[in-house]
């Protein structure tokens, strides 16, 4: 669907263009008619002068010229002409015509009429033609004309000025339009930014910060976010309850079967079936947890605190096995995510590392550009590069003699993917064993 900004810009531009075009047309029409009226008034004035001169000179050419002193009548092809034709055929013309003649047609009546024709220079002329009879009884056909070129030039000049003025007006209009659109759409941009960064503030959006048209939407978003949070939390609890409900009976069954086996009853097949049930349950629960990855995150997560807490807790376990966990956690790291997910990732990686380490395990957490890198290293046997992709498959185990369901690394991989991060297995440069490295973005991209 077309964006609001595009709609507003298109609508505004159409409106600006329409009003400017209408305005330009109106003004030009008015100014053109004004120019024509002024031209015609001057023409009427000049025709009157010629009539007066004709009447006073009674057809004498020299006297006539002494009356008509306008230099335009003398300058050749000036565009300003008069031409008189007596009923007897005698013809008098302004000097500006030189030997040229204007085509005169007989007017219908004695009233002045508009005349249009071509001049000696083939320029368009506009004039007044009239039949008059002098006091001495002579009849004359009088034509006074002026070049329309001047009128056209004047019109063009006016048109240029008007277009320039309206162009400036248009630019101002578009700028005003852009400002208006930005002002009107600002609350929506702010809403988008606030929704993206809500976890920075660790609180829900405040409808009071938005205009009354947007505020109900903000309230709805808050409701939705809270509902999403509740749904994820509830699903998590249900998954935990389900785990509890299934795993205790499974433990009982296993112990009973084991006891029977100790007494000599053959229970290998039953135990193997139970193993499959347990693995399936663990896998489904783990998938369920990974699918919620980060969705319940409302606040920035203090990664430093989570990593240190987990490192300390797991150090206890390591100590029992006579191993050590070195912690190198950068202070002040935070992440848009859920503590449970980070605990899950680090818990699995540290537990594995402690299990396989000869003596030393190292957890380092550091910021790198827009990511946080969690690295768990050990001095154990490591995993050869060929088998690394194998252990990321759910249910795959390199050593089936150890307890476990082979889901750990697959869960870590799933969780990293759910966060848009990356999970890699390398050879530890410092300790020589395996390095499990998980890179998570500090902020998740908008969906």
């Amino acid at each position: 669907m077309t964006s609001l900004r595009v709609r507003a810009v298109l609508g505004g531009l159409v409106w600006v263009a329409f009003s400017l075009a209408l305005g330009t047309f109106g003004i030009l029409t008015f100014v053109n008619s004004l120019s024509e009226r002024r031209f015609d008034e001057a023409l009427v004035e000049r025709q009157l002068q010629v009539l007066v001169a004709l009447s006073s000179s009674e057809g004498d050419e020299d006297a006539l010229e002494s009356f008509l002193t306008d230099p335009g009548y003398r300058r050749p092809y000036s565009g300003r002409y008069w031409q008189l034709r007596k009923t007897t055929g005698e013809l008098l013309t302004s000097r500006s015509l030189l030997d040229g003649l204007l085509r005169m047609r007989e007017p219908d009546a004695t009233d002045p009429e508009l005349w249009q024709g071509r001049g000696p220079d083939d320029e368009p002329l506009r004039g007044i033609i009239q039949r008059v009879t002098l006091d001495n009884g002579d009849g004359w056909l009088v034509l006074v004309a002026d070049s329309e070129t001047k009128l056209s030039e004047e019109k063009a000049q006016v048109r240029r000025s008007v277009l320039l003025a309206f162009g400036i007006l248009g630019v101002i209009g578009v700028a005003a339009l852009a400002t208006q659109i930005a002002t009107v759409l600002h609350p929506l941009s702010k809403l988008r930014s606030d929704v993206l960064h809500r976890w920075d503030k660790g609180q829900s959006l405040d409808p009071g910060e938005y205009p009354s048209e947007v505020a109900p939407l903000v309230t709805d978003i808050n409701t939705l976010l809270a509902r999403n949070h509740d749904t994820v939390s509830r699903s998590r609890r249900q998954a935990a309850d389900l785990a509890h409900a299934l795993k205790t009976p499974s433990a009982i069954l296993r112990n009973e079967l084991q006891a029977l086996q100790n007494k000599g009853t053959e229970t290998t097949r039953a135990l193997s079936a139970l193993d499959r049930v347990d693995a399936q349950v663990s896998r489904s629960l783990a998938r369920m947890r990974a699918s919620f990855g980060g969705q319940a995150a409302f606040k920035p997560l203090d990664v430093t605190n989570v990593a240190e807490r987990l490192g300390r807790a797991l150090s206890k376990i390591a100590e029992m096995a006579g191993k050590t966990v070195a912690l190198e956690v950068e202070p002040g790291l935070n992440l848009q995510g859920d503590a449970q997910d980070v605990e899950e990732i680090l818990g699995i990686l540290l537990d594995n590392a402690i299990k396989w380490a000869g003596q030393h395990v190292r957890l380092s957490v550091r910021g790198q550009d827009n990511h946080i890198v969690f690295s768990v290293e050990d001095d154990g046997p490591g995993i050869c590069p060929k088998k690394r992709s194998f252990v990321l498959q759910p249910g795959s185990r390199l050593d089936t003699s150890e307890a476990g369901n082979g889901l750990g690394l697959a869960i870590v991989s799933d969780l990293c993917a759910a966060y848009g991060g990356a999970f890699e297995l390398e050879t530890s440069e410092v300790l020589g064993g395996l390095e499990a490295r998980c890179t998570l973005p500090r902020r998740r991209l908008a969906a």
């Binding site: 509890h244 205790t248 296993r254 009973e256 347990d278 206890k316 818990g347």
Partner: protein
């Protein structure tokens, strides 16, 4: 050694009790959160196996209360909750180890033994002095390569004294750690067990500290 099994599932608790008793431990079972808290605070357990999903009070909360009350008993968390969050909360609250359900009973027995040894600062699961061996992993005793048959009570007394080498143990303390809550705690019978043990071991490993109790001297 005396162990409290805090597990709300009656069947599983019973299995744990049987398995641990077979290892020579005196085991109390309790299903209710409040009772578990009370027992842990008042009885001198050597180890507590604590389920997290308990009725009335959550396992983590009980653990936190114990640690606030300076109950230093070793705690092994047994949880059906899969996530690491619970385990970390448990370890943070003061647990010493954790196991997730479903578990293998032999692994649980091994963890319990390791935790008891650790508490006693015994690095070696086998006690070995002057030709006498006692393997805490399977409660077998040998003298000069010959096995010695011990009753459950004798094993319990010997095991407790070995786990507390270098410390004088009163008859009352011994009876508190070898009998479960419902057991007949007659401290006079302790003297009988010790006398029988000395006869079977045929050495002066167990010393009597007059008026105070018994002791196995620390090595070296």
């Amino acid at each position: 050694m005396r162990i409290l099994v805090a597990e709300d599932d009656v069947e599983l608790a019973d299995q744990l009790k049987r398995a641990l008793a077979a290892d020579g431990h005196a085991v109390d079972v309790q299903h209710d959160g409040e009772e578990i808290h009370f027992l842990g605070s008042t009885e001198p357990y050597d180890l507590i196996i604590l389920d997290l999903g308990l009725p009335k009070i959550d396992g983590i909360e009980i653990l936190k209360r114990w640690r606030r009350e300076a109950v230093e008993t070793a705690v092994l968390i047994l949880t059906a909750r899969d996530g690491w969050s619970e385990r970390v909360h448990g370890l943070d609250a003061g647990a010493d180890d954790y196991m997730t359900k479903p578990f293998h009973m032999p692994e649980l027995s091994a963890r319990v033994r390791a935790m008891l040894r650790r508490k006693s600062q015994m690095s070696n699961p086998v006690f070995d002095r002057d030709g006498f061996f006692f393997d805490t992993r399977n409660a077998t005793a040998m003298h000069e390569g010959m096995p010695i048959r011990l009753t459950a009570q004798e094993t319990a007394v010997l095991s407790y004294l070995i786990h507390n080498q270098g410390r004088t143990i009163s008859r009352t303390e011994l009876s508190e750690h070898i009998y479960d809550y419902d057991g007949d705690r007659d401290s006079n019978t302790i003297a009988v067990f010790v006398a029988r043990l000395r006869r079977k071991l045929n050495n002066d490993l167990i010393e009597t500290i007059r008026g105070r109790g018994y002791m196995i001297k620390a090595a070296g």
